[in-house]
């Protein structure tokens, strides 16, 4: 028996020593985490990149959400962070503390669709003011019927569906409509899974909801999209109206943040980002998002080549600004 125990102890010790020597060998790996909205694009790029490199470089992509992704990014745990909104002031501070410099690159547009049930005949368009009335915190428990938003609409319950508070979509919608990020009424049906929202709106005649345009396009037969009027007449969301900036304020840029150290010291990260920008126009479309105009990708490429750090947004959400204008303004200012 003693022999057995002795053998066991020796085996364990040698295993552990092996473990330690094996643990930290260098390997070509690109670590990405962040927004689940951006995930389908990054997944597509990662897939193609690994194919192009024939498996010499490994890429991992997580979905911790924009906020969760930045937390890891600012501690230096990831090379690239996916974001469905610009980096916030708090996150800028956190990165400063972690001594992480980053390069901000826009990679695609996403439109937010406001949808109603196909049986809904009364809504033909919505103004930003209408939406604000429905969604602002002051409406909690007060605005419960359609005719409270506009008197000509029916005296029927208004049932709201939207993403939960951890989502970047929620942050952006509240910023664009209510005027302050994360400020929304609380008494609506919230789900992190957009397919649940699709189901909810398609089954209730008096429902209204908002989510990413891709989810509307896949479920066109079950939903009716509402044109949004921001003062210049109602505009339907589409590739064209999102790209040229007329569908406002509910279109937003999707971004990636690259760790500057990783981009300069790890050639595989640099290659991956260059591959990303080069293939973004086709791959964003495949992932059901809207590509940026060509000039914007060129400007992004230059920005990365020059390793220009910092954010264009100053820690705030900028609603309705076109990405190529932002990039151009920045270029001129230097």
């Amino acid at each position: 028996m003693l022999k057995k125990v002795l053998f066991f102890v020796i085996a364990m010790v040698s295993l552990t020593s092996l473990l330690i020597t094996n643990a930290y060998t260098a390997e070509k790996i690109v670590k990405i985490d962040g927004s689940s909205t951006v995930y389908p694009i990054t997944e597509a790029v990662a897939e193609e990149f690994q194919k192009a490199k024939k498996g010499a470089v490994k890429v991992t992509v997580g979905i911790s959400g924009t906020g969760g992704g930045f937390k890891k990014f600012c501690r230096g745990e990831t090379d690239i962070s996916n974001a469905s909104r610009p980096i916030s002031k708090k996150e800028i501070e956190a990165c400063k503390e972690g001594k992480i410099e980053y390069i901000e690159l826009p990679i695609a547009y996403d439109g937010l669709a406001v949808v109603v049930n196909p049986k809904n005949t009364w809504v033909t368009s919505l103004t930003v003011a209408d939406l604000k009335k429905m969604w602002e915190p002051a409406s909690t428990g007060v605005i419960k019927k359609w005719n409270q938003v506009r008197p000509e609409w029916p005296d029927a319950p208004l049932k709201l569906f939207g993403p939960g508070a951890d989502s970047g979509t929620f942050d952006y919608f509240t910023e664009a409509i209510v005027g302050k990020a994360k400020s929304s009424r609380g008494d609506y049906t919230a789900s992190e899974d957009d397919n649940v929202l699709v189901q909810g709106v398609s089954q209730d005649k008096y429902a209204l909801g908002y989510f990413g345009l891709a989810y509307y396009e896949e479920n066109k037969d079950k939903l009716k999209v509402v044109p949004i009027d921001s003062g210049k007449g109602p505009v339907l969301p589409s590739e064209k109206t999102v790209m040229d900036g007329t569908y406002t304020p509910l279109s937003r840029p999707l971004l990636i943040y690259v760790n500057k150290d990783a981009a300069t010291k790890k050639p595989e990260v640099k290659e991956f980002v260059e591959f990303f920008i080069k293939n973004a126009p086709t791959l964003t479309k495949e992932a059901r998002y809207i590509p940026l105009p060509k000039t914007a990708y060129q400007l992004a490429q230059e920005r990365f080549a020059k390793l220009k750090t910092g954010t264009m947004f100053g820690g705030e959400e900028k609603v309705g600004l076109k990405i190529e204008d932002l990039l151009k303004i920045e270029q001129k200012s230097r």
Binding site: S36, E43, E47, T60, G62, I63
Partner: protein, 302 residues
């Protein structure tokens, strides 16, 4: 006399009513499971191919597979079993055979019973602090496996204790009467006799662990991984590699969750197909548990 007959008739009637209620209750559970499985099967059947098991995730639904997911799940379970079984069984034997009934054992017992009811996400948070940041294991297979080991540890301990308790005291007394020490009694009698029950408990614990999502998301399981962990056997000395323990991972439930939340309907089919595979894995494990129990019961003759 007539009175008595009436009484008996009435009581038999009550008995048959309970029979019906009991049968219906059993059928409800069985029926729901069948409906769920059939629904899942109809949805996922078209994607259930060999290629589905051997492909990596992809943006194109038809090409996407679950290779990295099931390999990840398997390796995590392996680590979980390696960590949870020795600790859990040893703790169970100690509490049942060695531990004196005093207030310390009482506190331990109450705590273990409570731990079994703690929501799994709490284990995830604990593991994030302990394994990822304190021990610096990173977001790796090792961390994932140890996290799930924590989760099933109370179950293993409880199962061990239950099956030890089922051994009649006369066995222990007979062993002591022949001059055996406590350890000899445990080694040659208590442990072998309770092994069937212990193994059943372990496997049921593991089949719970395989479906857990929350704790392994918290410790940083990733979604897109198109490569396998490093192989455990290498061509150069020392031929064994443990690098895979520190590799990033994904798991079956995570892959399913990701597919369910995608806009394209084809991904829903993939999710259903992955669901079938996960369910089959669980069923196999439970079947194994039943078989083991049967084998060991047959061997024991008191």
């Amino acid at each position: 006399m007539n009175e008595l007959k009436k009484r008996i008739k009435y009581n038999k009637f009550l008995s048959s009513i309970f029979l019906i209620i009991g049968l219906l209750s059993t059928l409800v559970g069985l029926f729901l499971l069948t409906v769920l499985f059939v629904d899942l099967f109809i949805d996922g059947y078209p994607r259930l191919t060999y290629k589905f098991l051997t492909s990596f995730p992809s943006r194109i639904p038809e090409k996407a597979g679950i290779l990295s997911a099931w390999v990840g799940s398997f390796l995590i379970l392996f680590v979980t079993a390696l960590a949870a079984i020795p600790i859990g069984v040893a703790a169970g034997i100690y509490l049942e055979e060695y531990g004196r009934k005093n207030w310390i054992t009482n506190i331990i017992e109450i705590n273990i019973a409570n731990l079994a009811g703690v929501p799994s996400i709490v284990y995830g948070l604990l593991a994030l602090g302990l394994f990822v940041y304190f021990f610096k294991f990173g977001e790796s297979i090792l961390t994932g496996g140890l996290t799930l080991a924590l989760l099933i540890l109370p179950m293993v301990i409880m199962a061990t204790r239950e099956s030890i308790r089922a051994i009649p005291n006369s066995i222990r007394e007979a062993s002591y009467a022949l001059g055996a020490t406590k350890w000899q009694t445990v080694q040659w009698h208590i442990f072998p006799y309770s092994l069937g029950g212990i193994l059943t408990g372990i496997i049921i614990g593991l089949s719970r662990a395989i479906g857990e999502t929350a704790p392994i998301i918290t410790v940083g399981a990733l979604t897109f991984i198109a490569f396998l962990p490093s192989p455990p056997i290498t061509s150069d000395f020392p031929f064994l590699s443990f690098k895979w323990l520190f590799d990033p991972f994904t798991a079956m439930p995570i892959q399913m969750f990701n597919w369910v939340s995608r806009p394209q309907k084809e991904f829903q089919v993939n999710a259903a197909a992955a669901g079938i595979i996960l369910m089959i894995m669980t069923l196999i494990m439970n079947g194994l548990a039943i078989y083991i129990r049967y084998r060991f019961r047959k061997k024991i003759k008191w």
